[in-house]
Amino acid sequence: MPAEPPLSAAALMVATIETLTRRAPAIVAAAGTELGTVRLVIHFGDGTRAALFCHGGLLVCEPTAESSAADVEAHFDDRSLLLLFDRSGLPAAESLEGSLDVRGTRLDVLAVWRTFRLLAQRASGLRAVQSLWLRYRMHAGIASATQTQPGSTDRRTTSTHWDLAHWPALDWLDQRHPAAQELIERGEPVLAPARSLWTGRKDASWQAAPSIFDNDLDESMAACKQLVVDEILRLVPNKRPRRDLYDLMRDYVQRPGKGLRPTLVIATCLALGGRIDDGVRAAAALEMFHNGFLVHDDIADESTHRRGLPTLHEAHGIGLAVNAGDAMHLFAVDMTLSNLATLGLARTLGLIHEILHMCRETVEGQAIELGWIRRNVVPRRDADYSLMSTKKTGWYTCISPCRIGAVAAGVTEPALLDRFNEAFRLIGIAFQIQDDILNLIGDTELYGKEALGDLLEGKRTVMMMHLFRSSPPEVVRRMTEINGTPRIGKPFAMAEEMLAAMHQAGSIAHGSALALELARKGVRRFERDLAFIPDNAGKGVLRQVANYVVTRAL
């Protein structure tokens, strides 16, 4: 069933920015950088208004009142509004007098212009954005912006076109066939503008691919996850003992999840010139290791929910859950070795090396945190958290998937593989802190784990460390007492009490700020350290993942 169209131009603008924030964080981050501190208020032809500004690294668009303060004010009628995202026309060439007006200081106006140029160039290639604007266009009864130009009908449908056009091959691809709407209806994204190979005088290489690659992160992650789940289901036997082993494994891997690790493996493999198939089996092995860790981790942490459903030991008992976790690790080794047939010996050995390293880091990190919990210790420094988090989740959530994807593509030089480490270490820690915050304040259904589960199990998070180092001794004593209470039998009120203390101490705000700072550092390191990878579709996905942490709504 098609989604409801935006009912006004302002609603269209708000929905566009929301869609981009969710699906293409790299575009929103880049646009936010261009806009800087400028607050833009847009007056639309239908009488609605929207404000666009950058807040805390996020590009925000919201409906606004007429009297809202602004550095730059812009007026768009419907036609010039559509030109923003209509790739079949050139806005500068087709904007009509009186349809567009911009007021503000020169520098601010230029910042707004750069922001919109970036959004128009990069966001209009996304199918989700195209669908949104198409629905609005159909709802508002507005034809394509360029089709309203006088004389354009003649120019496109008769041979007169060829007399008017100087070099029509470009025109043909850009304007005639197939129409953007036809591509959207076929479920294909509208292609980037055409480029010329030969004009009769000037030549260009067909290999000179355009330099900007953006993708829909939601779609990419869903597609990568599905590929990996399919591969796992193909490799896990569908035979007895089904009920007590294989069904548990098959059901567990199909639980909803973001698909971050498969996406990183496959995108890195693509970015370095590999094919998707080269990375899928390695990603499947990694996902099986991950699932095995989760099953055992949930038992150790006494967690009750995982990915929106009861944990495996809650549903089937500890014995079967431990066994299923062991089997997942066994099959992960098997899947790693099965790369021999497709990737050859050298790359498979490289994968084994990477996976062994990842497992060692993970168990070391887990040991550090479980040791803190067992001794009821809360370290005071964020650096302690950083070390533990890097080892416990940083490697197997972010760093190793990238390195594994690179090895699957044939890159085994340690110096090149190490280029992924710092950027994705920072991004991984930021991601983990955000996950921890979501457990405290997020929507349980969206997050998938029980609310305040981390406080019930005494998980040592950045927020808890901040609480302990910034609270008076009597609060610290009380919080230590809560942490020391065994999870079984710990009243939920204790978790709520600790959450209230965290709010009181500003620990959650500290966590948010630290995550954002780390994420921004990570994005900078991504651009610097991975400059050796030419821009391509795979790197575009990695860039979106890197920026996802910056724009993630908490």
């Binding site: 091959a169 030549d203 044939g410």
Partner: protein
């Protein structure tokens, strides 16, 4: 009477054009001398596609060639595709059997139109084809591009080659009728100097059996590398078996848009997959070529569907030269002598290059 020696200013060798005559019977003398026969056919229902190249290469340059060593080497590769299984190309290695005897060619003389000839590639292996081919059309005049130092490439094309026979993609011989394209190539070039080309053709597949396609088009865009590259392009239009227009380089334009997903590109021959061949740029998803001359104009609009990348080792660089054979729907439209035409058909396009990378 003393033997005639052309003055240096007239000598074709000095211009890099090779021995005199467009396609001389002169032997191949160096490792860079090449002679090719190129076949590309589509079944009349558009479902099956075939591409084959037979290349005679000059002798390798060794100081003391062993006695009895053949001076020329023949390599043949055959690729078949079934649109019912999109993306699954069936490919031989470079040593596909061809024969017996010389393969059929429209350029063998004498060659009356009504006499069919046999083209068999693959023998008892898969993939394999066995076709009885005959001409319905006439070739274009030969064309030439020169580049680098003393390097050149000549080619001559003929559309509207028709035939009956069998394709074998591994599941047994499949009887079919085909319509296609044949080309001969002669030249001397190193792949890095040749740079890249975009080449292709489209035949109207709806002609009656034995008759030439009502419309057909062939295009070429060659872009050599080097200090003074001389890109050249052409578009040739056939009607009822005769080439009616040759739109020259200044009268044509080429443009591309989008990218074919890498998943739709297969590497051939099968052994190339084991050699760690570095990736190439994505294949353009759409290609448009326009040409105009006076009141006549023509557009070929190609929508790529699947591609196979033939990896050819380069004699003079570490990077292989890659020829992407791309298959897809094609629209050929235009106006000739006041007659408007529009043909929806299937086409085969080559995007080649890569030996000069790095």
């Amino acid at each position: 009477m003393p033997e005639f020696t052309p003055p240096p200013t007239l000598c074709a060798e000095r211009q890099g054009l090779g021995p005199a005559g467009p396609f001389p019977a002169a032997p191949l003398r160096s490792a860079l001398d090449r002679r090719w026969l190129h076949y590309a056919f589509l079944s009349d229902d558009g479902r099956y596609a075939m591409v084959a190249k037979s290349a005679w290469l000059g002798p390798p340059e060794v100081e003391d060639p062993p006695a009895g060593e053949p001076g020329e080497r023949l390599t043949t590769i055959l690729l078949l595709h079934d649109s019912a299984e999109p993306g699954r190309w069936s490919s031989s290695q470079f040593n596909a059997d061809i024969g017996p005897g010389l393969p059929w060619s429209a350029f063998a003389r004498p060659h009356p139109h009504h006499l069919p000839g046999q083209l068999s590639i693959g023998g008892r292996h898969q993939p394999a084809v066995s076709l009885k081919l005959h001409r319905t059309s006439h070739p274009c005049s030969s064309q030439c591009a020169f580049f680098g130092r003393h390097q050149h490439l000549r080619w001559q094309s003929e559309t509207g080659v028709r035939g009956e026979g069998t394709f074998n993609l591994g599941s047994g011989p499949q009887a079919l009728s085909v319509t296609g394209y044949h080309e001969r190539v002669r030249g001397r070039w190193a792949w890095p100097n040749l740079g890249e080309w975009v080449f292709g053709f489209a035949n109207d597949l709806g002609a009656e059996p034995g008759k030439p396609p009502r419309w057909a088009g062939v295009f070429t865009f060659i872009r050599p590398t080097g200090d003074a590259p001389h890109a050249t392009a052409s578009f040739m239009l056939w009607k009822d078996g005769r080439m009616r227009r040759h739109f020259a380089r200044r009268a044509t334009s080429f443009a591309v848009r989008g990218e074919l997903p890498r998943e739709r590109v297969t590497i051939a021959p099968p052994l190339a997959r084991l050699l760690g061949v570095p990736p190439m740029s994505p294949i353009p998803r759409r290609l448009a070529i326009s040409a105009r001359q006076g009141d006549d104009w023509c557009v070929l609009d190609f929508d790529a569907e699947t591609a196979v990348r033939i990896v050819i080792p380069s004699e003079t660089s570490l990077h292989a030269f890659s020829v992407h054979e791309v298959l897809g729907d094609c629209l050929l439209t235009g106006q000739l002598n006041g007659e408007r035409f529009e043909v929806k058909t299937r086409g085969i396009v080559e995007f080649s290059g890569g030996a000069d990378a790095g």
